[in-house]
Amino acid sequence: MQDRVPLTILAAVLSLAPGCRRDEVTHARVPKPAPAEGGAAQAPPAGMPMMPPPGMAGDVPPPPTPTGSSALKWKLPQGWTQSLAGGMRYATIKPAAAGRVDVSVVVLPGAAGGELANVNRWRGQIGLPPIDEPALVSARKAIKTPAGTVSVYDFTSEGKVKTRMVAGTLSAGGNSWFVKMVGDADPVGSSRPDFIHLLETLRFD
């Protein structure tokens, strides 16, 4: 009988030990996968906006990439570089300014949830509260471009390290285009004039 007690205690302790470990918040530093190896696990680049409301399942095929006359084009400011990716993230543009700043061109079919929903989603991403329709109108700046009128929004987060987001939206040819610059407030601020100039050159050939 005496043999059972220590064994039972041992079994109970052994059972509890991994139970405690399983409940802890753990941490791992994971190298980003190389582009060629990027599978479904690849995380978006820093500052990249999440896609607008996704489908309920992850296996919804992306919409076809606009081509020919429905493909959006622009003039790249001096010193800026770009890569055309295709798919929903149509292009990634790197401004000349040093620091954390990223420009994305995203295309989605239809209204993509509507302008107010998208603007509030962007604001939520940098910790700003949602706004209503009148506030949306007052936050909007319109820019005339060869591709049509682009609505431009400029938001800056609160906090010590401020994140700034300048985004232009355009509805054309049954698609919604989002050209968005996100990053630390300083490099975004210094890149803003060039970004606005880029927006002014948007066109469909």
Binding site: G39, A43, P45, G47, M50, M51, M56, D59, Q125
Partner: protein
């Protein structure tokens, strides 16, 4: 004269009847566990009958649970104690009984190995497509992964187990200013686009604002997956970043930015990252010529471990796992028109114990029979000489 309680207890613990009772219970449990797999699935049935100390019965229509049988863990423990005690009491320490000592040691090691496996064994899987490289394996449990993706070279990944989400309350993420307040947690739920009749969603950020979550009873069968959902409010630097819906059935991760750092949220199978990477070069599904009858499943993988300067190809096929760094990668399943291979990954620090115990039992039987045979031969010889 009645024996003292201590003596009676010692008699009971060392009795052969107890051994027979334990072995009988084990047989009953194995049969019940096998039958229960129809309803509960393999893991559910093994947890209920084999890995538990007591088998509980839910009284229908009530919240009562009654223990109806000892579980496999309790029976195994009693059997181990019984074997140890009986060996100490009955077996004499002599060469002629050495075979029995070895057999008993092997059996005790077998039971101890099962305890080690049930406590420490971790089963995961790696679902990998041809051409894909993975440096992680995934478990059956879920995690709320909070990923700081700000650095261009690496991600800081913080994993909150779903068991921690289930407890609710506030969860601080160590090493970050971020914490989460669990507003609701559903082990299983049905997610659907929110209609006009649905109540307002607790989520006010991300896709969750337009999703209706309806709680469902959890499932445990192997071919069913719980659609887990949680509403969590993200707080950083004393500021709320809104309430988000996290679920393993949502198609895309969601993110927010705090103080210039981008945090991505995703509820997903719990990942264990590896210090090496595995690339699936080719999956083969061989059939017998002229038939659809499977002949062999195999995965040709490339193993790359920069820290050891190791790069080599390995062929994994039925009963030939890749054993590496304490883990065994078995060919388990496949999919996506034979372009996806699913490897079961087993990490068990006690994996050698059953082999050692089998060797011991075999050795003990050989020793015992040899000794018995020699003794019998000597008796026969003595009888002939007499």
């Amino acid at each position: 004269m009645t024996k003292p309680l201590r003596t009676r207890a010692w008699d009971a613990i060392t009795s052969l009847k107890l051994t027979i009772a334990c072995l009988s219970f084990l047989m009953v449990l194995v049969v019940l566990c096998t039958l229960a797999q129809v309803e509960l699935g393999t893991f559910g049935a093994v947890n209920k009958y084999i890995k538990s100390f007591l088998v509980w019965w839910d009284v229908p229509g009530t919240l009562w649970m009654i223990p109806v049988l000892p579980g496999g863990a309790l029976v195994g423990l009693v059997l181990a104690v019984n074997l140890v005690a009986a060996q100490g009491r009955r077996l004499e320490l002599s060469w002629k009984k050495s075979g029995l000592w070895i057999i008993h040691a092997g059996l005790i090691l077998l039971i101890a190995g099962e305890f080690v496996s049930s406590v420490f064994q971790v089963e995961s899987q790696m679902a990998i497509e041809e051409g894909q490289t993975l440096n992680y394996i995934e478990g059956r449990d879920l995690e709320l992964a909070v990923m700081d993706v700000t650095d261009p070279a690496f991600d800081e990944v913080y994993s909150i187990p779903d068991s921690r989400l289930a407890r609710g309350g506030t969860i601080a993420v160590p090493g970050t200013p971020v914490s989460f307040q669990v507003k609701a947690y559903y082990r299983n739920a049905e997610l659907a686009p929110r209609g006009p009749q649905d109540p307002p969603s607790p989520a006010d950020r991300g896709v969750g604002a337009s999703v209706a979550v309806r709680p469902m009873p959890p499932v445990s069968r192997d071919d069913q997956v719980n659609q887990t959902a949680a509403f969590v409010e993200a707080v950083a630097g004393g500021r709320s970043y809104g309430t988000w819906l996290a679920s393993n059935v949502l198609g895309a991760p969601q993110s927010f930015v705090h103080e210039g750092r981008t945090y991505v949220l995703a509820l997903r199978p719990r990942r264990q990252y590896l210090p090496y990477a595995v690339t699936l070069k080719k999956f083969s599904h061989d059939v017998y010529a002229g038939t659809d009858i499977p002949k062999n499943f195999s995965s040709l993988v490339h193993l790359s471990n920069p820290s050891r300067g190791e790069r080599r190809d390995v062929l994994i096929y039925m009963n030939q796992p890749l054993r590496y760094d304490g883990k065994a990668f078995y060919q388990a399943s496949f999919g996506k028109n034979d372009t996806l291979s699913i490897l079961q990954v087993v990490e068990n620090p006690g994996w050698l114990l059953p082999y050692i115990s089998c060797v011991l039992v075999t050795l003990g039987l050989l020793v015992h029979f040899t000794i018995t045979m020699r003794r019998s031969a000597r008796r026969r010889q003595g009888a002939q000489e007499a």
